[in-house]
């Protein structure tokens, strides 16, 4: 099993935002079991506030929500830290929203419902990418 580590060898720090509590409830323990540190939010205002306070390695956000939507959270997360990777999850997946997410710098776009394994794999890919980037001979691109 791979070790879940962030920048300084500490566990990867993940923020999950979905206005449907069931999604947070399902994802949180799954990531905790992998050794990640997880914080969950069901409203975008508190999630954005938290993003201003601290840096997360990964942000997993729903798209369609009351108040600030997922695109705004995506932008906010990228602004607060260039190294944050964002995964967009949505039950309203369209080609346009997918394109827009990628253009705004999302790492991946996952349509709901999804298999738990798919999102875990997605996070693992981010982890590997980060490891590669941190290796001394890796190119310094994002």
């Amino acid at each position: 099993m791979t070790t879940a580590t962030g920048t300084a060898g500490s566990p990867l720090h993940i923020l999950i935002l979905d206005d449907e509590p069931i999604v947070c409830k399902r994802l949180k323990p799954a990531f905790q079991k992998m050794g990640y540190e997880v914080e969950t939010f069901t409203d975008s205002a508190s999630a954005l506030a938290r993003l201003h306070e601290t840096t997360f390695d990964i942000v997993i956000t729903d798209l369609k929500m009351e108040g600030a939507d997922g695109m705004q959270v995506l932008t906010g997360a990228k602004e607060s830290s260039g190294t944050t990777h964002v995964i967009v999850i949505t039950g309203f997946a369209t080609l346009d929203t997918a394109k827009e997410s990628y253009r705004k710098g999302a790492f991946d776009f996952v349509a709901k419902p999804f298999k738990l394994r798919d999102i875990l794999d997605c996070v693992k890919r981010i982890e590997e990418k980060r490891r590669d980037e941190q290796a001394p001979d890796a190119p310094l691109t994002v």
Partner: protein, 855 residues
Amino acid sequence: MRHGLKHLLAFWRPSTESLPFTVLFKKFQSILERNNRILELMADMGDKLGGEYVFDGHYIEEVSETLGDLVFKLISDYSILNQHQNADLFLAFERIRLAIGEELSGQHILTTGEPVLLLAQLGHELSELAGTKMANLGDIRNRLELSTPGGFVITTRSFFDFLQHNDLLDKARPAAQYWHDQDEEALKQLADEMQHSILTATLPRRLSVRIFAAFDALAERRQLKDLRVAMRSSAWGEDGSSSFAGQYQSVLNVSRDQLIDAYRQVVASAYSFEAWHYRLYKGFHENETAMAVGCQVMVKGLVSGVIHTYAPHLAAGAMLASAVWGLCAPVVKGINATDNIVLSRTPPYPLISLAIADKPKQLILAPSGGTAWEDLPEALHQAPSMTSEQMEQLAKAAMSIERYYKRPQEIEWTFDPGGTLQILQTRPLRSQGEPFAPKQLISDATRRAEIVFSGKGFIAQRGIAVGKVFLVENDVDLAAFPHGAILLSRYTSPRYSAVMHKAQGILTDVGSPTGHMATLSREYRVPTIVNTEIATSQLATGDEITLDATQNIVYRGNIGALDHFELTEEEVFEDSYEYRLLRRLLKFISPLNLLDPQGDGFQPTACRTYHDITRFIHEKAVEELISLSEQRGAQYLSAPKRLTTTLPIGLMLIDGGGGTTCAPESRTATPEQIVSLPLRKLLDGMGSLGMWCTEPVAVDLGSFMSSFTRTFSASMASPAEIGRNLVVVLDHYMNINMRLGYHFTIIDAYISEAINDNYIYFRFLGGVTELIRRSRRAAFIAKVLEQFDFRVEIHGDLVVGRLKKLSLPRMAQRMRMVGGLVGYTRQLDARMHTDKDVNHHAEIFLKAMQSVIGE
């Protein structure tokens, strides 16, 4: 309502002008497409219950709407095809859609459902009616095969009838405002008034009649002249994710003439200040209050107590039983010293420690009703109240219940005078004061562990299982399956349901997450991974493993930390609102009640689910297309023709153009007159194996099959029984709908020189034979189709195979194979005795096919 809808549907009145056949055939094809889409969506919804997917409320709403939309359009298509209003179908649809809408909107006042239900009928799917506690007992009795005192439940529907009859529901409404204003005095006063009103209220006569009738029937079943029952609260949410322990009242040892008073007492306890306060504190809304009341035969317990299935504070991997002589109540109330018995959670559940208390008295049933204390003989004061056999029996039951609910449990139990362990109730065990233990760093534990394999196969039911592997290869193994083991097998089989109540987990090499066994795993909530390909080659009986069917990993050894993590997770998926909602919705969607097209019940008015409507329309659409072309076909194209063939398949053929060389007015067609390539090849294949003959045939297979073709009931083979089957052909195209016995096969194919247009769509839906054989048959068909490059999906009984874009000769070969397959499967159920027959038949069939198609 009915009138209004009929008016609304008036535009469906048949027009005098009939539509061209091509239009009608397009409608027919559209019916088939929608039919498939509906069956697939239904299967998808079922899969979501397995826990492999993360889904939310939006998904449930969307999929329900899509499904409703498809069914509505299906009826509309059918209305064009049969040129009738089909008001009964639309009304059936409307009833189902309304029920689904009510579930989705969370409307909670139950005005339908039985006022009284027997315990033998209960399970968690009835928790709305029976209340959580009694629904749990239903699961324990009917699913986990443990004993609970027999009886019935006066449902929440009766609760609403009772309160509405006395205008008491409105009386309770101000509570929320008092809570909001933090006016505890007002709430207290309201609680007193509510209770007083309930205790003095009259029951609707029809309700008291039903309650007495249920009581008398119970007395008669038990042959008890003076039946006494325990009346137990079973409220919404009680013993669910909030335990409500001790909030509501139970009344013990109730006689017939005390019955109604006791019922009122239990109902009134829903409005005690403490219970009401607890509900408001927990965030329950007033419309989420409903009290069902369980009435169970009073058990004269000889030894009783409570077991906590998880007690890590006492010893690692321990559970704790507290026991006394006599009835259970003193243990629950904590008013007496108890024998404290610490047992291991690992089979065979050995005793870790035993502390015997001084027990000078026991609580017994008083002859006049209620309970009384009785002095015990001195010899019993210091004697252990349980034997080691009883401890083991209790431990097994406790672990089965915990495994089912995926939470440490607090279980009340008693041993009756006959020595049977009776489960009185179970609820989630709350950690006392603080969490069971700080969350251990789980990744440390898993990182150190040896992974046997990971990411193999599909999760059919999520969860964590720790235990020793037990390989099941045959019925003898199955009979010997030990309690608490993990079942390992090459194949999936619904027969494993026989041991699911005692299995920790299930691992198989082959199988589908949408097959029958997967459905059963979900029913029993046994963590299950199927289709790992390699499980039996990597593991053997006796190996201790940790099966993580949440991440799809199998570890060697006991990873206690994972188990601990799972047991202390905040919420169990199966307890989530979304899970329960999806389950409830599926009741209006999936079950098939219209099984026999020849039966009297095959009526639009009998449709209770979307599946029923879908099945009904498919069956009738085929008939309709035949009769339409019979009546009017000649106006537009050739008349329907009966295919003259020795195959007893009752096939009616409609030529849409260039499909035959028959004269348009001809009423028969011979196989030689068929031009349509797909049909020619199909018939070739059907005839090739000689399976329709009653005489032995030259092919090897013939001798194998003939033994049962001879014994096969002649009526099954007669066209009258089969009904009329339909094929529509063009020169390169064929669409065939065949019901043979209870199997339903659809084949839609286009085969020409244009490779890119070529396809074969094969769909098989099994019939009413027993589940096990059906699932073997589905497995057999899938195996054969895959061998011939079909992309195959299995959803329960439904097998769908798709093949595209092969060259004409290869397509033709495969059509012959499909013909053979249809013939072969027609009588296959009778031969599917064991799971090994699946492979055996596949081998025989494939070998026979080699000679037929030369591949």
